[in-house]
Amino acid sequence: MSFLNSVFSTKWLDRGDQAGSRTMPFVLLLLVVTFLASFCNLALPADSVFYVSTYTITLLGKYLCYAMLALAVDIIWGYCGILSLGHGAFFALGGYAMGMYLMRQIGDRGVYGNPELPDFMVFLNWTELPWFWQGMDQFWVAMVMVALVPGLLAYVFGWLAFRSRVTGVYLSIITQALTYALLLSFFRNEMGFGGNNGLTDFKDILGFSLQEDSTRIGLFITTALMLSLVLIASHAILKSRFGKVIVAIRDGEDRARFIGYRTERYKVWLFVYSAVIAGVAGALYVPQVGIINPGEFSPVNSIEIVIWVAVGGRGTLIGAVIGAILVNYAKTRFTAIMPDGWLFALGALFVLVTLYLPKGIMGLFDQFNERRNKNKAVDVQETAS
């Protein structure tokens, strides 16, 4: 009996005391599902029961991008207590960097057929490419920008904010102001990012057409791999000494500072790391949905990310991923059935989760496990006596 118990016990799943230790099995599960879905799309005929349509693949890819974004928020909110209401800004900046690369790839296939300038610039009577568009036709330059621009913004913003010890709700409000200011700026045509309409009509990426099923599968798998990588890396970082200091800052910043840690430096680097993840998520998102526009900067989007994390359970890494996928799946279903109902549901979700489910789904899961373990302990005691 005890042998069976040890085989089927779930203890190996929650080894250690941190909830984040479920990461490895989750990554495995994620990869298995990804490859299974891809296989079902490519190898099975369209009329098979197990066939997965390309639409579903793209949808799943989109969810995984959101999951990565939620992960970025979870890292700073769940582990460091910094509630950023402006993470959509980093996501959008990464997306714009990718969008610029894709825009340059269109070449002379645009409506105006100008080999150098994207359509909207021709439309605005611009004669030459602005300096910040130079070099964006190189994939590697664009990829560097995807990480660099959000990272740099996060560094400057974080350095200013954490150095002067702006914390709590004040920080939340100014991050919201940041994304709002960017929203207003990107709406302007003079900024050179396509204004209101943003960047769209992409044709291909690295020479592969974006309309092809295989390209879409490739993007989906890339997203899943990146998400797995980020999950593992974040798990490692938060397990390390650095991560322990971060959690210490969350639980008592003053104490951590008095002990001798330069808390603002830890916070800035964590913030930058999180912003880069958000930027990468944005870059993966844009080729899959085919458009990036200033709407991504809207403060409401950024707050929505926070609720994904809250639903999944903050400070758990995989909770954020699960929350993002669940909420977005619900959104897809809801908006299809009754479009008006979605905002009611989302609003109610905000209220109910904060009131009754402060630890999210992962918290529920833990509670359930705990109770079962306790029952088991009681059983063992009874048989012993």
Partner: protein, 533 residues
């Protein structure tokens, strides 16, 4: 302009219908004669009409001048046909009422030539200048300034003799001087004219002086014109500065109204209410509903709407506090999320009930129009009233917080919750009341905003970030700070706007605040002593 003409025409038609009933045959006959008379013999008919019925003929003359006067061939009825966006619009000449469209061949146009046009213009000027209201005489004169010709000047000269109103006489002098400056051959007369024009602010005077400086041959006249133009530009610049200041104050008053409620809930209670914007929206919709309920008394509807909006938003606020915020005490970030959820629900609720479209709220007549101080500076009345209203609300709030027992309790709880509780203050009741007060004030802000913009489900969203900025900039927990911050940001915004454009101006202000908070995290006027943690 068109609207006012229509209103005028409506009034006239009422007069006319009684006139028709009496034995005013000759006007009727003249109007029929107008449809048949030859082009070169039309002037006597028109003259007779003017003498006969004076200002009642104004719409007729205007229509004829625009070449839109037609008559129905069968019964010689006059009507106006105007092409708007390629579509013909048929209206009654006198009443301005829309008529049934007629087939093109059933109507015939009454033609006009240049001679007739000149006569009509003079005649219209004569009719308007001899109006019994000094204000409408003044308006008529100002509209004439851009199209002065000899016959108009002669009319003005002849009317000046009997004029009693001083400002009308001054304007008449301006008109005569302007005519003299541009037409007189004598340099001395022109110099005299420039002297008369000195100190006037009308746009037409300015244009004339500019062209005089450019084209004048006589050195003395040119020098005089240059001098008065320079002083004119100076004064215009000053007035434009005042104008900008006024718009800044106006924006500031809107920000103050939107933010002062937040200053209480956020500043005094420490609660982040993301649904604050929706409290404003509820107030605006209350105004809309009140107007729907009393469509015949728009002028008084605001007096009903203001207290009602306070009650509606206030009670929703109390409900939110009792139902949600109370349970999240001491967890500000969770409060932020929960109230954001509430804001989504409220927005969608309004969208479901009132449709997602914007609703227009009518302004009462005593709020429309403007206070014309001079031709360059005119302050719109609704903005002026809202400025006064904002200051009034602010004053009332200060009074409540500083002079009532509720205010005393609120301040005590804000300073030290546990101590206040120990002294026997029912803190949970005080919390609910404070939140209700803040939300109610947001509702009143909504009434004011409904007078400036359209009322829509997203109304609150537009102000929430700005309101937070004002409160944080001014220093949390400090009402005076909120006042200073609101007006500073409003004025700064309006002064940057002409240089950079509206969007960039708000971006600059946002970035400025973000940087400011880094420098002084506690705002302009931080709380000192024990209250500050």
């Amino acid at each position: 302009m068109r609207n006012s003409l229509i209103i005028l025409a409506c009034l006239l038609s009422m007069l006319l219908s009684t006139a028709h009933a009496s034995s005013d045959k000759s006007t009727q006959a003249l109007l029929i004669e107008l449809t048949t008379v030859k082009l070169n013999k039309a002037i006597p008919v028109l003259k007779a009409l003017e003498e006969n019925d004076g200002d009642k003929m104004l719409p007729l003359f205007n229509t004829l001048l625009k070449g839109q006067l037609y008559y129905v061939k069968s019964n010689k009825d006059l009507l106006s046909i105007e092409k708007v966006d390629g579509k013909k619009e048929y209206t009654d000449v006198f009443s301005g009422e829309a008529l049934e469209p007629l087939a093109t061949k059933l109507t015939k146009k009454i033609r006009v030539n240049n001679k007739l046009r000149r006569f009509l213009r003079d005649s219209i000027a004569r009719i308007q200048l001899s109006s019994s209201e000094p204000e409408s005489r003044e308006k008529a004169l100002i509209s004439l300034l851009s199209q002065l010709d000899e016959s108009t000047i002669n009319t003005i000269r002849s009317l000046k003799v009997n004029e009693s109103n001083t400002s009308v006489i001054e304007l008449m002098d301006v008109a005569i001087a302007m005519y003299a400056l541009s037409n007189s051959a004598e340099a001395t007369e022109r110099l005299q004219a420039v002297r008369t024009l000195d100190g006037r602010l009308e746009n037409e005077v300015r244009n004339l002086l500019v062209s005089t400086v450019k084209n004048e041959a006589d050195i003395k006249v040119k020098a005089a014109a240059e001098k008065s133009l320079a002083s004119l530009e100076d004064r215009i610049e000053n007035y434009q500065f005042v104008n900008k200041l006024f718009f800044g104050l106006s924006l500031g008053s809107v920000l103050l109204l939107a933010a002062v409620g937040l200053a209480i809930t956020f500043g005094v209670m420490g609660v982040i209410n993301m649904a604050h914007g929706e409290m404003i929206m509820l107030g605006a919709y209350t105004t809309y509903v009140v107007q729907m309920m009393m469509p015949n008394a728009i002028d008084y509807s605001l007096w009903v709407a203001i207290p009602l909006a306070f009650l509606v938003s206030g009670s929703v606020g109390v409900l939110i506090e009792r139902g949600v915020i109370r349970h999240l005490h001491g967890r500000p970030l969770e409060t932020l999320l929960a109230t954001f959820g509430i804001s989504l629900i409220l927005q969608q609720l309004v969208r479901t009930i009132f449709s997602p479209l914007n609703r227009q709220v009518e302004s009462p007549t005593w709020m429309s129009g403007s206070l014309d101080i001079n031709p360059v500076l005119s302050l719109t009345l609704n903005r002026l009233y809202i400025l006064a209203f904002a200051l009034l609300v602010f004053g009332l709030l200060l009074l409540i917080l500083n002079r009532t027992s509720l205010g005393l309790n609120v301040r005590a709880v804000a300073q030290n919750r546990n101590m206040a509780k120990a002294m026997g203050i029912r803190t949970d009741r005080v919390d609910a009341m404070t939140f209700g007060l803040g939300s109610g004030i947001a509702g009143m802000a909504g009434v004011a905003l409904s007078q400036l913009t359209n009322v829509g489900p997203n109304l609150g969203q537009a102000y929430i970030i700005d309101s937070f900025m004002v409160v944080v900039f001014g220093g949390v927990g400090n009402l005076w700070g909120t006042l200073v911050a609101a007006f500073t940001l409003g004025i700064a915004n309006k002064f940057i706007e002409p240089i950079t454009g509206a969007v960039l101006a708000s971006i600059i202000v946002l970035v400025f605040i973000i940087l400011f908070i880094q420098k002084r995290p506690k705002g302009l006027f931080p709380q000192k002593g024990r209250a500050a943690e």
